[in-house]
Symmetry: C2
Subunit: 329 residues, 2 copies
């Protein structure tokens, strides 16, 4: 018996990926190129169509649909890529309509962090949970929320932007979680302290060129035992913990899944994060049974998430019914 | 034809109310007494049972169920009132089990701010909206979230505690929206400035006894034109606006409904609130079509909300299907 196939498309700022998956979200075939973002949407969409055709089944298997993971802002209701900072020239591109016209298949669009959350509850680190929050900490902070088994989108699919929660509102100063705890924020804080005279091996790592300091550099310095780098990451973890405190009070989740490059430093970040959660949550019932885990799906999370959009009809079907169906097959 | 009846119970810190409503959530009959919170749960529950019996239909009409609005923390999944600060002696009281055993009817429990949100989307200021947030600003700040037509509860019904979002995380200082913008916070800030030497008619209003300064006193002073009071409310409105910025990024709602005594000052609070929203939201698409309205249900909001729990099966049925059913009757 031939089984149905799902097409997943990961439109990233750096890489463009397509894959064919079965309904268990196992990758059957995949294709990957650089995105060449500067070539603009028309050329990229032409390649995307070719790459989808390449992974379409050749044996007559039925295709359930195409799911696309794209950088935000993207509107899953209208299927429009709005204006992602890392895809120059993409302004209000009706990608879902374009692919639907080309392939005559159901097409779903989701932003990368939202679909990552979906992938993690269906086949990743949060498998089986109904109340889950995915947070990715890298050059920005993005998020996805699974609320009672369904992907949280809001009115126009702009929900779950956890990096833009206000964390500092004091006097005239206002700042968000992303501005305080993402990679560039950690780099900025380290550079400011170095420029104020503190010693750090960061200077040696970047060979004196402080414009090269990044979240990754801070992570390497911290892992090597650099006091300044450790201190900066500690504050980042503490702020991330306070951001999670807000999310606990707002969503009362069962599990938090953390991904993104900054989380690779591990306990240097997680220990102060957990301390902030336990100190500042209203009540221990918010964190007593809370699981905080690392993302399980690695760099393929967007492909899984794109395919998960198809099996959940854009994230709107309850993941419990979807998984029961997967398990029954 | 006899129509079905719903029993709503509002267990407040000050007042205990029961009512019989029809499925359109019109109040048919009601009963109200003081709660006498200090008498403890057994005596209050005994009176509650009597008051429910008094509003039960005498003509043989069928009763759909009993809904209870209670102060948080209350667990809608287990039907347990956990330990509300304004109901001394109530610790883990299994109120749903007790009433179910007494009346042999479906019984639903919700916290007062959550059920207020439900009431507002079914029969109040947010009628017909699918993505709505209710915020009440009085001695505390509470909230309720309707997410894609369903009441947001989270794992144990502890979600939507919007007053406990972290708003100030700077250096060692951490503070929540409630600690910065609820009535007592406004009073505390005004008193501190008066004690530091600023002039204000607040001193005359409380006849020199600064322990009597409350959110209501600040509101009265501001309405009378007092500069200090206006300034304190302005900062409260600005912080409330920043709290709403977080909620917009997290939920992308269509409408915000504001209730609670502090909101009675009107534009003195709402103008700086709206300014903060428009200045700090990531993109105008978060607020361009956003409606911000006052609560429409007044002091009966908890009775309506309690009854709404019954028609939505504890907030878990989609409000669209519930309202279609109401309209068809």
């Amino acid at each position: 018996m031939m089984s149905n196939v799902i097409i997943g498309v990961d439109l990233g700022g750096t890489r463009l990926r397509t894959a064919a998956l079965n309904r268990d979200l196992q990758i059957l075939e995949r294709f990957e190129t650089l995105t060449h973002a500067q070539e603009g949407p028309d050329a990229t969409i032409a390649r995307m169509k070719q790459m989808i055709t390449q992974v379409l089944p050749k044996d007559g298997s039925k295709v359930d649909g195409i799911g696309i993971s794209a950088p935000g802002p993207a509107n899953p209701m209208t299927g429009v890529i709005v204006a992602p900072p890392n895809l120059p020239g993409w302004h209000n591109v009706r990608l879902v309509d374009i692919l639907r016209a080309e392939f005559d298949l159901p097409v779903y669009l989701g932003n990368d962090a939202n679909v990552a959350a979906l992938a993690e509850v269906i086949r990743g680190a949060a498998q089986g949970y109904r109340h889950a929050i995915y947070i990715t900490v890298s050059t920005g902070i993005g998020g996805g929320v699974i609320s009672d088994g369904r992907m949280l989108l809001g009115k126009e699919g702009l929900a779950a932007e956890v990096g833009h929660m206000v964390m500092v509102a004091d006097g005239g100063h206002v700042s968000s979680l992303e501005k305080e705890a993402a990679g560039p924020a950690l780099a900025r804080k380290a550079v400011a302290r170095i420029q104020a005279g503190e010693k750090s091996i960061i200077v040696d790592i970047v060979q004196g060129d402080l414009s090269q300091v990044s979240g990754k550099v801070i992570g390497n310095a911290a892992t090597a035992g650099d006091t300044l780098a450790i201190d900066v990451i500690k504050r980042g973890g503490w702020l991330l913990g306070l951001g999670i405190v807000t999310l606990l009070h707002v969503f009362n989740p069962e599990i938090i899944v953390l991904g993104g490059g900054v989380t690779n430093v591990g306990d240097l970040l997680f220990v102060p994060m957990r301390e902030a959660i336990e100190k500042y949550a209203l009540d221990s019932s918010y964190w007593r049974d809370l699981k905080i885990v690392r993302s399980a799906l690695g760099e393929d999370v967007s492909i899984f998430g794109a395919a998960a959009l198809v099996v959940t009809q854009g994230g709107q079907a309850d993941v419990r019914s979807v998984m029961a169906k997967l398990d029954a097959e």
